[in-house]
């Protein structure tokens, strides 16, 4: 949310540094032989307590989402849970006027983030990596939106977009009745308006990830390329960018997950009204809205889960396979 958002976001720590796993494997076996009974119990608790908490609140609930998606339930007694098969999904796909727009907006969200702020963040990182003066100051300016909460960002951009009092309409004189450009309410405009705010934040995040990636590039590569007479763009294209591969993977996964998680900003901006519906908004409205339908809400969550897993599973397999080989 907000993940952390925010947002938040943990995916950055994705590519693990390769450790000396095989050597430590032997050491670990040595460790285990020396354990007393009490040590074993301690270890069991150390691994067990956090795992139970995590699994109960994250995985059991995720599985419950899947199970409940095929039922109706009033939420009061467990005996009122009724199996309805695919009914919830049929209703969702055929009868809900908000579902397909929401899915489409999530896709647009991702496409915009990957096409505009991500390359821009990379570009800024490359410029700031040149050992220039005031690099820190510039970095702070670009990174500031990442530190501030998405909710706060929503309010700040409302001040920019407000049709009566906002910065844009005041500047272009569109704040008089009859001349309004309604950046927040107009379903043709509001998604793009909110995407500008999201891109504003995403650029700084990508810049930091790429800066860290660039720090890991061997400087002698760059020197060799310069000696070969390559200009800056050629060096970047042929030498630097290919070595940024691990960072690019992280960036791609972070961007996809961020576009699936997008919520706070839109909720503050206009509560996900017409034009800015997102899957996350539909799930939430189903809970805090007037008529809460548990099975139906879970069905939307399952769509979100399936899309996330299509991204998460290959990514984790690749990451952990690399780790095992190391």
């Amino acid at each position: 949310m907000t993940t952390d958002t925010t947002t938040k976001t943990p995916e950055a720590a994705a590519v693990p540094p390769s450790g000396a796993a095989s050597a430590s494997k032997r050491a670990a076996q040595g460790h285990r032989r020396l354990l007393t009974r009490r040590d074993r119990i301690t270890l069991g608790l150390m691994a067990g307590v956090p795992t139970v908490l995590h699994v109960a609140l994250v995985w059991v609930t995720a599985l419950a989402s899947i199970a409940l998606a095929f039922t109706t339930w009033d939420g009061i007694g467990f005996d009122s849970i009724k199996w309805v098969g695919l009914d919830n999904f049929k209703q969702l796909f055929n009868d809900n006027p908000q579902f397909w727009p929401a899915l489409q907006h999530n896709v647009v969200w991702f496409v915009v983030l990957i096409l505009i702020p991500t390359p821009l963040g990379l570009f800024l990182a490359v410029q700031l990596d040149k050992k220039i003066r005031f690099s820190r100051v510039y970095q702070t300016a670009f990174f500031l939106p990442v530190v501030i909460s998405m909710a706060c960002i929503g309010f700040v951009w409302q001040l920019v977009y407000n049709p009566d009092t906002g910065l844009i309409n005041s500047l272009i004189g569109a704040n008089k009745p009859g001349h309004y450009i309604d950046w927040i309410g107009d379903p043709k405009l509001n998604l793009w308006a909110v995407l500008i705010a999201a891109s504003w934040r995403h650029t700084g995040y990508m810049m930091i990830l790429y800066l860290a990636g660039l720090k890991g590039v061997d400087p002698s590569l760059r020197e060799a390329s310069a000696l070969d007479g390559a200009n800056e763009w050629q060096t970047f294209k042929n030498v630097i960018f290919p070595t940024l591969r691990p960072t690019n993977t992280v960036v791609l996964v972070v961007t996809i997950i961020e576009s699936l998680r997008a919520f706070d900003l839109v909720f503050v901006f206009n509560k996900g009204a017409q034009g800015t519906e997102l899957l996350s908004i539909l799930v939430t409205n189903n809970i805090i809205g007037e008529s809460s339908r548990i099975g139906y809400g879970s069905a939307i969550a399952v769509v979100l889960l399936v899309i996330s897993l299509i991204v998460i599973i290959p990514y984790l397999i690749a990451t952990f396979r690399k780790e095992r080989r190391a």
């Binding site: 947002t7 943990p10 956090p50 005031f134 501030i148 909460s149 309010f155 800066l211 310069a226 763009w233």
Partner: protein, 295 residues
Amino acid sequence: MSTVSAPVKQRTPIRPARVLLHVFLAGTALAWLAPLLWAIFSALRPYSETSERGYVSWPHTLNFDNFKNAFTQSDMTHYFMNTLIIAVPAVLLTLFLSSMVAFYVSRFDFRLNLALLLVFTAGNLLPQQVIITPLYRLYLLTNLPGITASGKLYDSALGLVLIHVAFQSGFCAFVLANYMRSLPHELTEAALVDGASVWRLYWQITLPLCKPAMAALATLLSIWIYNDFFWALVLISTGENMPITSALNNLSGQYFTDPNLVAAGALLTAIPTLIVYFALQRQFVSGLTLGSNKG
């Protein structure tokens, strides 16, 4: 933009290109700060002046009245306290639990290691909305009479702490496990041979060596949990119990009646994160990029 990236050789910086780069970066940086500066500008002006002369106009009075009013009228101290009650235990507990898992997987069990890390990491990548519907029901059904004010996990600080810990510990366990694996194995091996207990290995030998990683994660977690909007929005029903970031949404309709007050209120909630960020900038950035490059 592309015109600015004219060939600049890394080793012999040509002056004009450097100047151009600075002009570009300074311009972009200023444009980046513009929305925030606009919010500050609006917040510093009295509503009477802006409503009379428009928001884009030369300021006659600039003062902190809106900030003062936003702070006192909405009783913001109360909401900051709510955040504190949630964030401090959540950060400490997350670090404590995830460091224990990390210690276990990095020192003892290598078959479980991957599976366990996989479960934790994957769980952390899920969008919150995937689990919220059953979680909301679970919180409503969990009766805790006498433990929380609401008598349930729902609408309580405890509930928020638990979900923060469960959700964030995946990321922290992953980072800390990688960090601990880079520590020399002889260290714990020797202590174990000397008859030290497992708990001592963890608490007195391994943890002190993880201070840099723990500091980075603590900074990161504090800001994330402070900034959380979604969990509290759904899992807290009483406006009074909301942490500051989520409360902002209610307050903006109730107390912040004009855009200048909204600006002031929103900016006030950003101040604690900015303080933490500026004080611990290095920790924050290193936490965010931990492991994203091979290092």
